[in-house]
């Protein structure tokens, strides 16, 4: 079974800072990690490949430093890694990102499954996975917390909802986005680290190699225009109401009235 996993290298902090003038993320100097839920995506792919046999290809679009994140996936056991890297990709929003990823997946040829993380901890949009599926015109299932069944033609998963879950079946090929609950990512092995650095290569693909339309990539291909970014003011501390339900409701109404909400 051929499986593609999309990963993103992200700053190792949830408190990323923005350049107030340009409205872009300040990435310099921040230690980077593989987006945590992408590790769950990779773990699931590796587990499936281990169980039924298969090939796991990891794909990322990013700058040259993303090589390190890909090496980590090779150390965990991924079979091959591709870095989509080109100045022309710079400034991509989620749409241009997913278009570029789709072109790379097309170049890879036949596949059964694509795994993405639910959401990147820096960009936080959760759009890339579903958009990639749309570009490729395949079904997608988001928020996968368990794979119930998988064969050559179909996959059945538990998909988390806010207050429960649903069981969804899809034909293959399909794209799944993964949650933390899905699994516990394995450690790279020591021999795997050596394989990743001394025995394997990270392939670097440019826009030209994947045959991407120059008008659809990078800043030019991005419908999103960041007008301004700002850090929302820290919320004030909440006030806990106590007493019986009735008393609390009364207090709440009183409170809302004094704040002129009601």
């Amino acid at each position: 079974m051929k499986i593609v996993v999309c990963i993103k290298q992200v700053p190792n902090t949830t408190e990323v800072k923005f350049d107030q003038k340009t409205g872009t993320l300040i990435r310099e100097g921040l230690p980077t990690i593989i987006n945590p839920e992408d590790k769950n995506a990779l773990e699931e792919a590796l587990a499936i490949a281990g169980a039924v046999g298969g090939q796991v290809t990891v794909l990322t679009m990013g700058p040259a430093q993303a090589d390190y994140a890909l090496r980590e996936t090779l150390a965990m056991g991924a079979h091959e890694a591709i870095l989509l890297s080109d100045r022309a990709f710079a400034g991509a929003d989620t749409w241009a990102t997913s278009y570029a990823l789709a072109k790379a997946v097309e170049k890879l040829g036949e596949f059964s499954l694509i795994f993405c993380g639910r959401q990147a901890i820096d960009g936080d949009t959760a759009q890339v996975g579903p958009e990639l599926a749309e570009h490729l015109d395949i079904p997608h299932i988001t928020y996968v917390r368990r794979i119930v069944a998988l064969d050559e033609k179909t996959v059945v998963v538990e998909r988390a909802l806010e207050d429960g879950y649903e069981i969804v079946e899809s034909t293959l090929p399909a794209l799944l986005t993964t949650l933390k609950e899905l699994n516990v990512p394995r450690y790279p092995s020591a021999g795997g680290v050596i394989t990743a650095f001394d025995e394997k290569k990270v392939m670097v693909w440019t826009a030209e190699i994947v045959g991407a339309d120059p008008a659809k990539i990078g800043l030019k291909g991005s419908p999103t225009q960041v007008k301004r970014t700002f850090t929302p003011p820290v919320k004030g501390t909440g006030k806990m109401l106590t007493g019986t339900h009735k008393e609390m409701v009364q207090q709440l109404i009183q409170e809302l009235r004094t704040k002129h909400v009601l």
């Binding site: 980590e72 450690y187 790279p188 092995s189 021999g191 680290v193 050596i194 990743a196 650095f197």
Partner: protein, 379 residues
């Protein structure tokens, strides 16, 4: 000159830090108290290839190098010095002599399972009357009927009883003195080979330390490492490498003392201020940080020299001497930073101080390191 770790070694360090945080640190205090061997962590280390870090892949190892292995001992010891020495004694003392001195056949038979982590290794030189004076071995090995017959007692053996494969030194010809000592690979379960009780220790309590007893224990001649009479050379060269491991263990302990001290100095308030705002505390922390950096440079350089196949005996002794004395001195200071709380078992610094002491003793006391260093300088 580039002091930065390569990307590969950075990945190793991150991996060892994550492993230590999740698999070693959470149980360290408990195992110190109970004296229970860290089997769970050791089995996971085995499955990830950590027990064969510096050995080539075709011999069952991970194909990494001394520096990667040293980073593992450092990071594991930072969480639990007992777990650190299990790895160090296994790799440097148990497995490495077979790698360095073993025949192809011995490497396949003994090193493979050790490097893959299927078996654990140990090294038995010390005897009741042969400590620093390792040459005065009383254990004997006598050739009889195509086998060597071992008689004698080894003491204070790290990984004793838990290990499967032991490098054992014995006199094969007393008349030849140093040149009369030979090295053998002895497997647990060999008739005539038994263990004394577990030692009850000041520190590294979760590590296993036992006596090994040999009573007419018959060893095939094929289990001799090197030639008859090579034993002392094998022991000394093995300890040269082992010292880098113990230096890394000391470094990890010292780093943990700094980690704890920095955190506590920021947290603990007296006179309505964090104690870290008092110069007396600041200076202790400055000295700790400086000595630890110096120790780290010595330790990594010794590992690098070994990886470059250059002479490293003096540098390994310097690294071990400096790192172990840094660990001892600054774990005491770390308790000082913690005041009365630091004297209590609820805080990690108390364990660090007890664990630090052994690094000044085994694989050559600090006095021995000074002898090695000065002998080299005054040559």
């Amino acid at each position: 000159m580039d002091f930065a770790l390569s990307k590969k070694h950075e990945m190793f360090r991150t991996l060892f830090q994550e492993f230590a945080a999740q698999e070693i640190a959470p149980v360290a205090a408990e195992l110190d108290e109970s004296g229970e061997f860290p089997w769970l962590a050791v089995r996971k280390m085995a499955s990830l290839g950590f027990l064969g870090l510096p050995f080539p892949k075709d011999l069952g190892g991970a194909g990494a190098d001394t520096l990667a292995y040293i980073l593992a001992v450092e990071e594991f010891s930072r969480a639990c010095a007992a777990t650190g020495v299990v790895l160090s004694a296994h790799v440097s003392l148990g497995a490495h002599p077979i790698y360095q001195f073993g025949t192809k056949e011995q490497q396949a038979r003994f090193l493979g399972p050790l490097a893959k982590g299927e078996k654990l290794g140990a090294f038995a030189l010390t005897e009741p009357n042969a400590g620093t004076d390792a040459a005065s071995q009383q254990t004997t090995a006598v050739l009889s009927g195509g086998e060597y017959v071992l008689n004698g007692t080894k003491i204070f053996i790290t990984n004793g009883e838990v290990a499967d494969t032991y490098i054992v030194f014995a006199m094969t010809d007393r008349s030849k003195g140093l040149k009369g000592i030979s090295a053998f690979v002895v497997e647990k379960g060999t008739p005539g080979f038994t263990f004394g009780p577990q030692e009850n220790k000041l520190g590294i309590r979760a590590s296993s330390t036992t006596e090994l007893i040999f009573e007419d224990c018959r060893i095939p001649t094929g289990n001799m490492l090197g030639k008859e009479g090579d034993g002392f050379k094998i022991a000394m060269q093995t300890l040269d490498g082992g010292r880098i491991g113990i230096a890394a263990q000391a470094l990890g302990i010292a780093q943990a003392a700094l980690d704890e001290s920095v955190r506590y100095a920021k947290e603990r308030q007296q006179f309505s201020k964090p104690i870290g705002t008092f110069q007396a505390i600041q200076w202790m922390i400055a000295d700790m940080g400086t000595d630890i950096e110096a120790a780290r440079l010595l330790v990594y350089r010794a590992a690098w020299l070994k990886d470059m196949r250059r002479p490293f005996s003096k540098e390994a002794a310097m690294a071990k001497l400096y790192a172990s004395e840094t660990a001892m001195k600054h774990t005491v200071k770390a308790i000082q930073v913690h005041g009365g709380y630091g004297y209590m078992k609820d805080y990690k610094v108390e364990r660090l101080m007890r664990d630090a002491k052994i690094t000044e003793i085994y694989e050559g006391t600090s006095e021995v390191q000074r002898m090695v260093i000065s002998a080299s300088l005054l040559k």
